[in-house]
């Protein structure tokens, strides 16, 4: 009873479709008896979580799939009450400390200690006497929280194992990296996605064309427009098959609204470079920000849209500028300053190259 993304998700390692070498390594890990702390990283929609849950399934059996959500409250040192959601099964629990922003340290300190100090009593198999804690969005953990984490990892390693999931390793402090086994899950290639979608169509009725070549052609188109993000590809194919009677290679793809807004912005920046255009782009940027699109994603998308439009000389310059402003975005806190700065500077760059 869910979306296809969830419904047809592989639940154990043998069902995984691509990155077979990673799967082999993981299955070797799970059978080896002991289990290290893991740091799983890779781009969004590559299948990190699916793999982690598959490992858990291998370790503990299907019990891990019976998950529930608890709400816990924490009190900070300033007596502020914080609510925090935890997804858990009887073998593992999953937390997203970055939900609490700067207070994530409290969760790491209180919750992990609490779990770590109670020993797991498993009456049935006695397979593994530890509980697994999955920490989502580990790259947005504050430095304090990461510092709190590193001692806990060693001290209580008898009772808990951590699996950190993040998009990059660059925000993670070296001591944590050294305590974990790093596993990179790269984004699936277009062919991988086509293969997965094809497999899906055998399980779920999808109005795809009959002939093999057209069928592959259609799937390839879907895979390409989802930017090597499998989750997005699966959602897209579901949305498309809900909207259309028949899927053919000519079926128009669904454009995400925010992406088309950025596309338009890039087009306008390239076409017309003056002060009033900057002022207009500011309101567009505000609009994007208020729709909860993260600033760095806006910058990234805008950069890629721009470099498709401009000439060779400007390309390299724009990428350089984008890199500078990406840093500024992550150092500073006023996104609109930097996004607008990027627009202004790239206008200058385009102007110079013409």
């Amino acid at each position: 009873m869910s979306l296809w993304v969830d419904k047809y998700r592989p639940t154990n390692l043998s069902q995984l479709d691509y990155h077979s070498s990673v799967s082999a390594r993981l299955s070797a890990l799970s059978t080896s008896g002991d289990f290290p702390h893991l740091l799983v990283y890779g781009p969004s929609g590559a299948g990190k979580k699916t793999r982690v849950l598959s490992i858990l399934n291998e370790l503990f059996g299907s019990g891990v799939n019976k998950m529930k959500i608890d709400v816990r409250t924490f009190t900070t040192s300033t007596n502020k009450k914080l609510e925090f959601n935890i997804v858990s099964s009887s073998y593992h629990l999953e937390i997203t400390p970055s939900d609490l922003g700067n207070n994530d340290r409290v969760v790491i300190q209180d919750l992990l200690k609490e779990i770590a100090s109670t020993e797991q009593v498993d009456f049935s198999t006695g397979k593994h006497r530890f509980k697994v804690i999955i920490i989502n969005e580990a790259d947005s953990l504050s430095k304090d929280a990461q510092a709190a984490l590193r001692r806990t990892m060693e001290k209580y390693s008898r009772n808990i194992r951590l699996i950190l999931i993040s998009n990059t390793t660059s925000n993670i402090i070296p001591p944590i990296k050294s305590r974990t086994l790093l596993i990179r899950i790269p984004a699936p290639s277009v062919n991988d996605i086509v293969q997965v979608l094809n497999k899906l169509s055998s399980k779920q009725e999808i109005p795809l064309p009959e002939s093999e070549t057209e069928r592959v052609e259609t799937l390839r188109k879907i895979a390409e427009s989802s930017e090597r993000n499998l989750r997005r590809a699966l959602l897209l194919i579901e949305a498309l098959s809900m909207q259309n009677e028949k899927l053919t290679p000519t079926t128009p793809m669904i454009q995400l609204d925010w992406e088309s807004v950025i596309k338009k912005l890039a087009f306008n920046i390239n076409r017309e470079r003056n002060v009033s255009r900057i002022s207009q782009s500011r309101s567009t940027l505000y609009e994007l920000l208020s729709h909860c699109i993260p600033a760095r994603i806006i910058l990234k998308k805008l950069t890629f849209e721009l470099i498709q439009l401009v000439n060779f000389k400007a390309k390299s310059q724009i990428i350089e500028i984008a890199a500078i402003f990406d840093e500024r975005l992550s150092l500073g806190s006023k996104a609109i300053y930097h996004l607008e700065g990027f627009v202004a500077k790239s206008m200058v760059a385009i102007e110079d190259s013409v």
């Binding site: 009873m1 869910s2 979306l3 969830d6 998700r9 969004s44 979580k49 849950l53 998950m67 529930k68 502020k80 009450k81 997804v87 997203t96 009456f123 049935s124 969005e137 009725e205 109005p207 989750r231 997005r232 959602l235 897209l236 579901e238 949305a239 809900m242 909207q243 669904i254 995400l256 609204d257 925010w258 807004v261 002060v275 900057i278 002022s279 500011r282 505000y286 609009e287 920000l289 208020s290 729709h291 909860c292 699109i293 993260p294 994603i297 500024r328 150092l331 500073g332 806190s333 006023k334 609109i336 300053y337 930097h338 607008e340 700065g341 202004a344 500077k345 206008m347 200058v348 102007e351």
Partner: protein
């Protein structure tokens, strides 16, 4: 509630001194019809009025006050010792002459010591006026405004004009006159609006509140209130079909709590109080100064909502400042009350009304909410309000327009004899961010000095500094002006606001630039300011004062001779508010998703990819053939996975639409037209989804029954291992049970209520043999 009667009086001025009313004014005609009606709720007000009458001598103002007949005011009137058979008339005359000593009311005739005589002759009430009352009643239902109030407003305005023409000076609002006598109180208190017509700004919001509170009239003021009969309901529906689809059997508003929110100092509390009073309620205020934890407040609130006060007026509970971490207890009490009410309502709808009211004794006494509750807060999204929010009619308070506020301040300045220019007043308004209360505080205490010292003492506001930065003075050297501005910024320590103001404004001013170098240069400096101001929140030391240099850079780059006019600095507050709103919606959405899906998604991906595509998944393109059933099922599954509910709602044109709760379309779509289109599509396809949901609910019920049957099988054995096995068995059985469901549509029901229905071991497969 007794309708406020609208009565016209003919006043014949027999011996009238023209000078009193000003020459040439039309009021001086011997037979003139005045109908001034002013509603009074306040005892004090009436007494004050009488005292004015005796002692004070205001010039040339004649007020005819017709006190409405409502029982609430009867006490007041008897105390005023004015005898009248049917309708009480209080005639107040204010003269330049010394105190009036004696007035006799004889058959609507007034004698004054100077030989003047007034005869008040009652006008025959015509059938026409009865009609007008009927009319006004209907008006009231649709607009929530009393027609008489509107008349009163007009009349008050006219009176004002008259006084102005007489005195050529102060144009005080009538209700303000009364508070004038006491100079020692804070202006913020002194000039607090006293009637509905004194409010500044937010007119439609105020009307909405009034309308909401008027909807309680039926329950509160009708002594032997009964639920609305079906006939009435029909007539109501036919009358205003655009009106709410929802109808409370007692005629109360759909949402029983009114939640007002907005930034401080806009008059939320005042509005709530005045409107509650205007509607005839006694206000009971519970604010943060009261003990509001759990049990203690529970009894207090319950008592006040179910009993009446000494004055005989019903109570309206105003819960002020309900956002705050310490308010969980209080919010709990409120939401409990609402829950009880909803339960009672449900019970009522299931039983017959006659039965329902008999059952009043003992524990089963219906806990119906019979009094309005108004809650006030600053932050709508504070976690304490989470539970209450969706049960509330939410009213957002916005800043009054600059012009309206300016008018009011000018009025007050005039009355208080302060001479300030428009520009200065405008600056005060901007300085306080449209906070009326703090405007008045500044006026009272900052404005007491003479003009010169005021200028010297007060630091220039960030707003005026920003304007200065863009102005290039032709008579000074640039370095000279630079120094001055540096000084000015140094005195005002609000660097962040100055820089942000510059950033907001620099597109709107003129500057010389070739090839866009200036905006790109300033972006580097803005980065510097961002980094510096961040240090405030880090432990390594505050470096934020360096930010002031960025403002100077703005001067260096963007100052221009052509910028002479002050410009209006836009605020990005709106964007922040919207972002907060959207982020909150996303969070709610994320919290409702099923655990499996939740562990798969990151909250960030919701606005990025999931929600836009979910739009399409939830609104399948159906043409109602066999394939579409599968599509519907899919959509329902998606709906379930995200824990979305389908709700009835209204769009801005009051069309009925179906939307999801939480409503996320505003996040997934950018264009207004697209949002609208999506809403239309939702309205088209959601009825199908609702049907499917209903069907699913039914099958689910059958499942649980089956499961119970399975469990009964092996009751004899108790060993632990078996128990564990059994759980697995159930899981398997569930799996098996699901499979036949899709293929064979046969349902088996055991005898409900007979626990020993299955005594011997019957396997599921046996049933199919």
């Amino acid at each position: 509630m007794s309708q406020i009667p609208k009565v016209n009086f003919n006043i014949h001025y027999l011996d009238f001194n023209n000078s009193l009313l000003g020459s040439g004014s039309k009021e001086s005609s011997p037979s003139h019809e005045t109908s001034v009606s002013e509603t009074y709720q306040d005892k004090e007000n009436d007494f004050e009025g009488l005292e004015d009458f005796n002692k004070d001598s205001y010039e040339g103002l004649i007020e005819t006050k017709q006190i409405n007949k409502s029982k609430n005011n009867r006490n007041d009137i008897t105390e005023a010792k004015i005898e009248h058979d049917n309708i009480e008339v209080q005639h107040i005359l204010k003269f330049t002459t010394p105190a009036v000593e004696e007035i006799k009311y004889k058959d609507k005739e007034i004698d004054l010591p100077y030989g003047r005589r007034y005869i008040l002759k009652r006008k025959r009430r015509k059938t026409k006026s009865l009609n007008s009352i009927e009319l006004s009643r209907q008006e009231k239902q649709s607009y929530g405004m009393n027609l008489n109030d509107l008349y009163a407003k007009l009349e008050v305005e006219r009176l004002q004009e008259n006084t102005e023409s007489v005195k050529g000076g102060s144009n005080n609002t009538v209700s303000y006159l009364k508070s004038m006598s006491n100079p020692d109180i804070l202006w913020a208190e002194k000039w607090r609006p006293k009637t509905f017509f004194d409010f500044v700004g937010n007119e439609s919001t105020n009307r909405k509140i009034l309308k909401w509170i008027k909807q309680w009239d039926r329950v509160v003021f009708d002594k032997n209130f009964k639920p609305i009969t079906t006939e009435e309901q029909h007539s109501n529906k036919s009358n205003n079909s655009a009106f709410s689809r929802f109808s409370d059997p007692f005629g109360r508003p759909e949402r029983k709590v009114l939640l007002i929110h907005g930034p401080p100092g806009l008059g939320k509390t005042t509005v709530a109080h005045v409107i509650a009073k205007q509607a005839g309620y006694e206000v009971m205020e519970v604010n943060a100064s009261d003990e509001r934890s759990g049990q203690r407040v529970r009894e207090k609130v319950r008592n006040s909502l179910s009993t009446s006060t000494f004055s005989g007026k019903p109570v309206c509970l105003i819960a002020d400042e309900v956002d705050g971490a310490a308010e969980f207890g209080f919010i709990k009490v409120l939401s409990d009350i609402l829950q009880d009410d909803a339960k009672t309502l449900q019970k009522f709808q299931n039983t017959e009304s006659s039965k329902f009211f008999k059952d009043k004794s003992g524990k089963n006494k219906p806990k119906l909410l019979l009094r309005p509750i108004i809650a006030i807060c600053n932050d709508l999204y504070s976690p304490a309000l989470e539970k209450l929010r969706f049960n509330c009619e939410i009213i957002t308070f916005q800043q009054a327009t600059e012009r309206a506020l300016l008018e009011r301040l000018k009025l007050i300045c005039k009355a208080e004899k302060k001479v300030l220019t428009n520009q200065q007043l405008k600056e005060i308004i901007l300085l306080t961010d449209f906070d009326i209360r703090s405007c008045l505080n500044i006026l009272q205490f900052g404005g007491l000095d003479t003009k010169n010292s005021r200028k010297k003492d007060t630091q220039a506001s960030w707003y005026s500094i920003v304007n200065e930065i863009f102005k290039r003075d032709p008579h000074k050297q640039k370095s000279q002006q630079f120094k001055e501005i540096a000084n000015m910024i140094g005195v005002n320590t609000n660097f962040d606001k100055i820089v942000h103001g510059c950033f907001q404004a620099y597109h709107d001013i003129h500057y010389q630039d070739i090839r866009l170098t200036k905006p790109s240069k300033i972006s580097d400096w803005l980065f510097f300011s961002d980094i510096m101001s961040r240090t405030q929140f880090e432990s390594s030391g505050d470096l934020s004062h360096y930010t002031s240099q960025v403002a100077l850079k703005f001067f260096d780059l963007f100052c221009d001779l052509t910028n002479r006019q002050s410009i209006k600095i836009q605020s990005d507050y709106e964007h922040f508010e919207r972002r907060k709103n959207n982020a909150n919606t996303i969070r709610i959405l994320f919290n409702h998703t099923s655990p499996q899906l939740r562990s798969l998604l990151r909250i960030e991906t919701l606005p990025l990819e999931v929600l836009s595509l979910l739009d399409y998944i939830l609104t399948p393109d159906t043409k109602l053939n066999s394939k579409d059933i599968a599509k519907l099922k899919n959509s329902v599954a998606a709906l379930g996975a995200f824990g979305l509910r389908i709700q009835h709602s209204k769009d801005e044109n009051y069309n009925n639409i179906l939307i999801t709760y939480p409503q996320y379309t505003t996040i997934s779509k950018f264009d207004k037209a697209l949002i609208k289109r999506q809403q239309q599509r939702q309205t088209q396809s959601f009825p199908g989804l609702l049907k499917e949901l209903e069907r699913k609910k039914l099958t689910k019920r059958t499942y649980t029954q089956m499961k119970e049957g399975e469990e009964l099988e092996d009751q004899g054995e108790t060993s632990f291992q078996v128990l564990k096995d059994q759980y697995e068995k159930i899981a398997v059985a569930e799996q098996n049970a699901k499979k036949p469901k899709t293929k064979i549509k046969v349902w088996v029901k055991y005898h409900e209520g007979f626990s020993n229905a299955v005594r011997k071991n019957v396997k599921w497969s046996n049933l199919w043999q």
